[in-house]
């Protein structure tokens, strides 16, 4: 169904339920959907599983969501950063679960969810403690591990421009996980700096086709942390 342009971020996330798996775009701060995360904090949904590359920086965005006590588990590749003190504290206090996934497997597992691939053999992580308990197989003389899709109930992503058909374009390395997460969630919500009419984005340069986008929220550039 066509993308719906919401009046507010609060409206966009109003049905995110307790216990939901939420895919959160961004690599560090680039591409992080700050406005949607802030709305999710106001929404107050709890017991969330968050899938994101990092586990929050400083006190903004994902870190603020963690600080609000709404997240039960983080699935990410790199929680430990110089300014990830919110996560660090929760983790050391035993108040949050952590599943570390190699970054390429994290991306590929979400891609598999979006692409209808049931499971895939990857050499990444094979023979390491992150593959413990998982099926392995030697293929062409190389050890592979079988990895499964990661699906989201909802994806919160940030893009640059959308049209009202839901097509998205991104900006520079802020693209990162957005296009993959958009395919992997039952409901995808994108915050964008501009919303234009269908036909105003060249069909050759669309990165995320509108079929993957359910809701749009326009944010002012100044809304960004």
């Amino acid at each position: 169904m066509r993308a719906r342009v919401c009046d507010s971020a609060d409206e966009a996330v109003a049905d995110v339920a307790d216990g939901a798996t939420v895919l959160v775009g961004g690599f560090g701060l680039a591409g992080m959907p700050f406005t949607l995360i802030d709305a999710l904090i106001r929404r107050g949904a709890r017991d969330l599983t968050v899938v994101s590359n990092n586990a929050g920086n400083a006190d903004v965005g994902l870190a603020a969501l963690l600080a609000a006590g709404q997240v039960r588990k983080v699935v990410c590749s790199f929680p430990r950063q110089s300014d990830s003190y919110v996560f660090d504290g929760l983790y050391r206090d035993g108040r949050i679960e952590l599943e570390v996934v190699p970054q390429g497997n994290l991306a590929e597992r979400m891609r598999a969810a979006g692409a209808g691939i049931g499971a895939f053999f990857t050499p990444t992580g094979a023979g390491t403690m992150l593959a413990e308990g998982k099926e392995t197989r030697e293929i062409d003389g190389r050890l592979h591990v079988l990895e499964s899709p990661i699906r989201g109930d909802v994806a919160l992503i940030a893009a640059h421009t959308a049209d009202t058909a839901g097509n998205l374009v991104y900006r520079k390395t802020a693209r990162n996980f957005g296009p993959v997460m958009a395919t992997a969630a039952a409901t995808t919500i994108a915050e964008v700096r501009d919303v234009v009419e269908p036909g105003q984005i060249d069909p050759e340069v669309v990165v995320t086709p509108g079929i993957y986008v359910d809701r749009l929220v326009r944010v002012e550039a100044g809304d960004r942390a």
């Binding site: 691939i117 058909a165 269908p198 069909p203 050759e204 669309v206 086709p209 509108g210 079929i211």
Partner: protein
């Protein structure tokens, strides 16, 4: 009176919700587009890498770089997008299309579909995107005549033709009736020129009525 092909296409179109993302395959099912509000209410996907496909191109609109899955030149609609083949089939396989419409040699009561190969020893097999469409779309609609030219039923207890996809067909639109398939049972939605009982006799199947 049985339904014409055009009436079947119109019936399929009437069951496609506004705003749906739809793939019409190749051949007969593409005529469903004539009954859809394409580019506004409904968005057409073509397996060769486009969402928002428009109608057939005419005259100067013909561009060899822009065709549908049947290699027929088409036009763009506002809001369309292009993507490569792996992305296009990820979209199909990943369950993102609301509806696809396919032709069939046979459909079984379990919703198994046969539409890619007659199994004849001299036939050159060719599958294209049929197996991807069969298992990928949220709803799979089949358009076909209910009986082959020799009178043999095409809605059958079990497939005798090679399988395209298992348990994938949701609705079957034919000249004699529309059927809904679920949980191994066939429900007659509406009939044309025969009663449900008469069809059950000719098909040798148990048919439910709504």
């Amino acid at each position: 009176m049985t339904r014409s092909k055009d009436e079947i296409a119109a019936a399929v179109a009437a069951d496609i919700p506004t705003g749906a993302y739809v793939n019409l395959g190749i051949g007969q099912p593409t005529t469903v587009a004539d009954h859809l509000d394409v580019g506004h209410g409904v968005v057409l996907h073509t397996e060769n890498g486009m969402l928002g496909m428009g109608r057939a191109a005419v005259g100067d609109e013909v561009d060899p770089d822009l065709t549908n899955a049947g290699k027929v030149p088409v036009v763009e609609t506002p809001g369309c997008s292009y993507f490569h083949h792996a992305d296009s089939f990820a979209m199909m396989r990943g369950g993102h299309l609301d509806v696809c419409v396919l032709g069939a040699f046979q459909v079984s009561v379990a919703g198994d579909l046969a539409n890619w190969h007659t199994g004849a020893p001299d036939a050159i097999p060719a599958v294209g995107g049929a197996m991807d469409l069969a298992i990928g779309a949220r709803s799979v609609f089949v358009m076909m005549t209910l009986f082959a030219k020799d009178g043999t039923p095409k809605l059958v207890p079990e497939l005798t033709y090679p399988v395209t996809g298992l348990g994938c067909v949701d609705r079957v639109y034919t000249d004699h009736a529309t059927f809904a398939l679920a949980d191994g049972a066939v429900t007659v939605v509406e009939t044309f020129g025969s009663t449900a009982d008469e069809l059950a006799d000719r098909l040798g199947l148990e048919l439910r009525t709504p």
